[in-house]
């Protein structure tokens, strides 16, 4: 029994699950209460009046009715951000370096996954696939995206970052920006050479687009239904599985111990017999695997991808990592969930609350404003402790 507990640390499986549940529920509750409060106040002003004239509902009811859907959407995108943010945070933890090209590694994962599904579709395999096979294909696409992205991340580290390991801090960062730009156009080059199309569409198969009905609610004359689409569930479940696995890898295995040792001190870690270069490669591999899977999940959720698909999710995931405290894995998880939620709430309600003056189009700015505010007032992030000096 004792040896079992040594090889298999059950606590490290439960802890992240608890954290995720706590973060998700906590963020949802806090944001919902805040939004409802704001709606309740605004209801008494001209804003509420305008909505009443236009849609014949009070602002408070409108907000309440949309809330479950918004929260769920926010959670879905939040988990995608968390998965990408972990890639940033792990690399930062080990090398103290922002891997700017991580967003393109994410994009490559998305493209490889979607291309495989498109190829399967063109053979006619997907159309008649039974439900079980549909999931097999989806998992195959995710795994392919992970492998491609992981391999790419390791290659990029080997070629563009390792020679610069001992240069001043800005040198590898500039190189990473270069890699990011290069990869964006390489994806575009490959896509335009093969098909001449700029976009890729995630093929429709299986039951991923179906909505599961959760409940009904009648409000005045209208009937409101709450639903959750299957793909949202898939995204969340897949992300949770990956995050738990990663947490286990880092916190409960020997390799994870090596990663943590390298993050603390390169020379000392190498004196302890750890091959620092291999661990750094491994960190990039793990970050790439997560990024690639997140890419395919993102494509599943948003259907349409192009060569620049990585830019905004990448930046927001970075924001999430900083928000949670860069270098801190639990922080990245929290940051991703909080940012995804905040952004979705803002995107959904800002238009109504400001009477259409500022709508969804400011969603992206919102993330940056949060980043700037966090860096000004709490540069170590929500969970970070000792990284203030590094900032």
């Amino acid at each position: 029994m004792k040896s079992f507990s040594k090889t298999f640390n059950i606590q490290e499986l439960i802890r992240p699950l608890g954290q995720m549940a706590f973060f998700s529920i906590g963020t949802t509750l806090l944001l919902s209460i805040f939004t409802l409060l704001l709606a309740w106040i605004l209801d008494r002003t001209i804003v509420g009046q305008t909505l009443l004239d236009r849609l014949n509902v009070s602002l408070f009811t409108y907000t309440l009715v949309n809330l479950p859907q918004v929260a769920l959407d926010g959670l879905t995108i939040g988990f995608v951000y968390a998965a990408i943010a972990l890639g940033y945070t792990m690399v930062y933890g080990v090398l103290e370096f922002i891997n700017f090209a991580h967003s393109e590694i994410f994009a490559v994962g998305a493209f490889v996954g979607v291309e495989i599904l498109i190829a399967l579709d063109s053979f006619g395999v997907l159309k008649g696939a039974s439900l079980g096979w549909a999931y097999v294909y989806l998992i195959a696409a995710i795994v392919a995206g992970m492998v491609a992205a992981g391999a790419l991340a390791v290659t990029v580290e080997r070629i563009a970052y390792r020679p610069l390991r001992h240069a001043s801090r800005l040198v590898p960062l500039i190189s990473a920006i270069g890699v990011s730009f290069l990869l964006q156009d390489l994806i575009r080059l490959v896509e335009s050479l093969t098909t001449g199309q700029f976009n890729r569409i995630f093929p429709t198969f299986g039951n991923f687009d179906r909505r599961l009905l959760l409940g009904k609610m009648s409000l005045g004359a209208t009937n409101i239904t709450f639903g959750v689409s299957v793909k949202s569930i898939i995204v969340i479940v897949a992300a949770v599985l990956m995050l738990v696995a990663l947490n286990y890898l880092v916190n409960a295995t020997k390799i994870g111990k090596a990663i943590r040792a390298v993050a603390q001190d390169h020379p000392t870690a190498s004196l302890m017999g750890i091959d620092v270069n291999r661990i750094i490669s491994l960190t990039f591999l793990v970050g790439g695997l997560l990024g690639g899977a997140a890419g395919v999940l993102y494509a599943l959720k948003f259907t349409r991808i192009d060569a620049f698909v990585g830019f905004f999710p990448g930046l927001k995931a970075f924001t999430a990592a900083v928000l949670g405290g860069i270098g801190n894995m639990t922080g990245a998880l929290l940051g991703g969930i909080v940012l995804g939620m905040l952004e979705t709430y803002a995107g959904s309600y800002m238009g109504v609350f400001t009477m259409g003056a500022a709508g969804t189009e400011y969603k992206d700015i919102f993330a940056f404003s949060i980043l700037i505010l966090v860096l000004i007032f709490r540069p170590q992030g929500l969970m970070g402790a000792s990284v203030a000096q590094k900032a």
Partner: protein, 450 residues
């Protein structure tokens, strides 16, 4: 490989250096003659424009350099440029980007602060004149595309000159406003925050067409006024140069010459200011901050104030060029101020050599020429191949089947990315390293420049 190149180039270089004037004059005349004879050839233009480099590179006395440079910029380029307006356009763009690169050089090269949203300041300048120098003030209450057609202009075109100065101040203030909260952050965080700021400005430009129509949204503002040009300028130019130009120059073409000269003037001022700053107490404070922040504080350098100064000076250069751009294009849209432009300017600084004034100008020229002439030339060549019925021999692929999406002119990111990676790995000090850097490298043999 690099060594081999050096072994070939160095003796030639030494040989030319023994009779520099003859070579420089020959270079200029050869270039001018080539461009005169074949005004459409990109190669001829390259020969002419590289004469700037040989003028800079080979050691002669100051007066010779000054005179030759004046003749080249004030006489040869305008006259040959009106024969093919595209060349003037290329040189104008080189000047604009050189000014931007010099501004970014102050922030990145001198003070060591990586600014990834630099075009935001450029956008501030451009939108400043675009708003006040167009009908936009009267368009405020109208949604884009619904305004009546007979609106007056808010300010006369000659206010343009005044706005070049206002833009300096406004852009500098924007720089300080942005800098104040974020300059406490070090290195890479600052880079991301400035990136975010650049995106914020672009998104604002894209979306501030409601509730009040400030920027006209993605369609952009047009028409923007140019300063008036008196008739005698066109007449005079035609009277003097008609025999060599070969046709009457229209006022529209003359405007290109005027903006080219204005850009040149701005560059001269900027180079002068940058040189003076570099040699001043402020410049040395910047260097100290770049090399070691903690040590700089210990030496009593007011860290935040010096960083703000770098931000403000860099921003003001971009602000002026923004006004110039708005005036010369008469059209401004958020497209011109994307993140890619910021990286393009960064690529220029890095390629040329951050901290080095001639290097940065060389970087701006190289990247702009690659962008405007080489990539676009390739595009043209490809589209010709596509229309012909040529076939790639071995794999038996007809050019006509090549995707029309494949347009090299659109692959600037590839170019910028390659420049950044290759320079960082193989030559982080740039093509023309700054003097200080050179001394460091030769003295200690520490190539990483830590």
């Amino acid at each position: 490989m690099f060594h081999l190149l050096k072994n070939v180039v160095q003796p030639i270089d030494r040989m030319i250096s023994s009779f520099p004037r003859v070579f420089i004059l020959a270079h200029i005349f050869l270039g001018a003659a080539l461009v005169y004879m074949s005004p459409r050839s990109n190669l001829a233009f390259l020969v002419l424009i590289t004469s700037f480099y040989s003028l800079y590179h080979f050691p002669t006395d100051r007066w010779f350099k000054l005179t030759a440079g004046m003749v080249l910029t004030l006489l040869i380029f305008p006259v040959l440029g009106v024969r093919n307006i595209f060349y003037l356009e290329v040189i104008f763009q080189i000047s604009v980007f050189a000014a931007l690169a010099l501004g970014l050089n102050i922030v990145v090269g001198f003070a060591g602060l990586l600014d990834l949203g630099y075009v935001a300041f450029y956008a501030v300048g451009a939108y400043l004149w675009a708003f006040f120098g167009s009908q936009q003030y009267y368009v405020l209450p109208f949604a884009p595309g619904t305004q009546p057609s007979n609106l007056p202009f808010l300010l006369p075109g000659d206010a343009f000159y005044l706005f070049m100065f206002i833009a300096i101040i406004v852009a500098a203030i924007t720089g300080i406003l942005l800098g104040t909260p974020v300059l406490r952050l070090r290195g890479d965080y600052l880079a991301i925050v400035t990136l975010g700021f650049g995106e914020v400005i672009r998104v604002l430009a894209n979306n501030l067409d409601k509730p009040l129509n400030f920027t006209n949204g993605p369609q952009g503002i047009t028409p923007i006024q140019r300063p008036t040009m008196p008739d005698w300028v066109v007449d005079g130019f035609n009277r003097i140069f008609a025999w060599i130009v070969g046709h009457e120059v229209s006022p529209a073409d003359m405007y290109n010459v005027m903006f080219y000269l204005m850009a040149l003037l701005v560059i001269v001022v900027i180079v002068y200011v940058t040189k003076r700053l570099d040699d001043s107490k402020i410049g040395r404070a910047w260097t100290a901050i770049r090399e070691d922040e903690t040590a700089a504080i210990a030496m009593g350098i007011p860290l935040v104030r010096m960083k703000l100064a770098a931000f403000a000076v860099g921003a003001s250069f971009a602000g002026v060029m923004g006004v110039l751009l708005a005036g010369s294009r008469t059209f401004i849209s958020p497209e011109s101020f994307s993140f890619m432009q910021s990286i393009g300017v960064l690529a220029m600084v890095i390629l040329g050599g951050s901290g080095s004034i001639p290097g940065v100008i060389l970087g701006a020229a190289t990247v702009t020429i690659l962008n405007l002439q080489v990539l676009q030339g390739l595009s043209l060549y490809l589209s010709q191949l596509r229309q012909s019925d040529a076939v790639i021999p071995i794999i038996n692929f007809a050019w006509a089947n090549l995707s029309t999406q494949l347009d090299p002119a659109k692959y600037q990111r590839l170019l910028f990315g390659l420049i950044l990676i290759l320079m960082m790995i193989f030559r982080p000090e740039g093509l023309i390293p700054s003097q200080r850097r050179k001394r460091e490298l030769s003295g200690e043999g520490n190539p990483s420049g830590e």
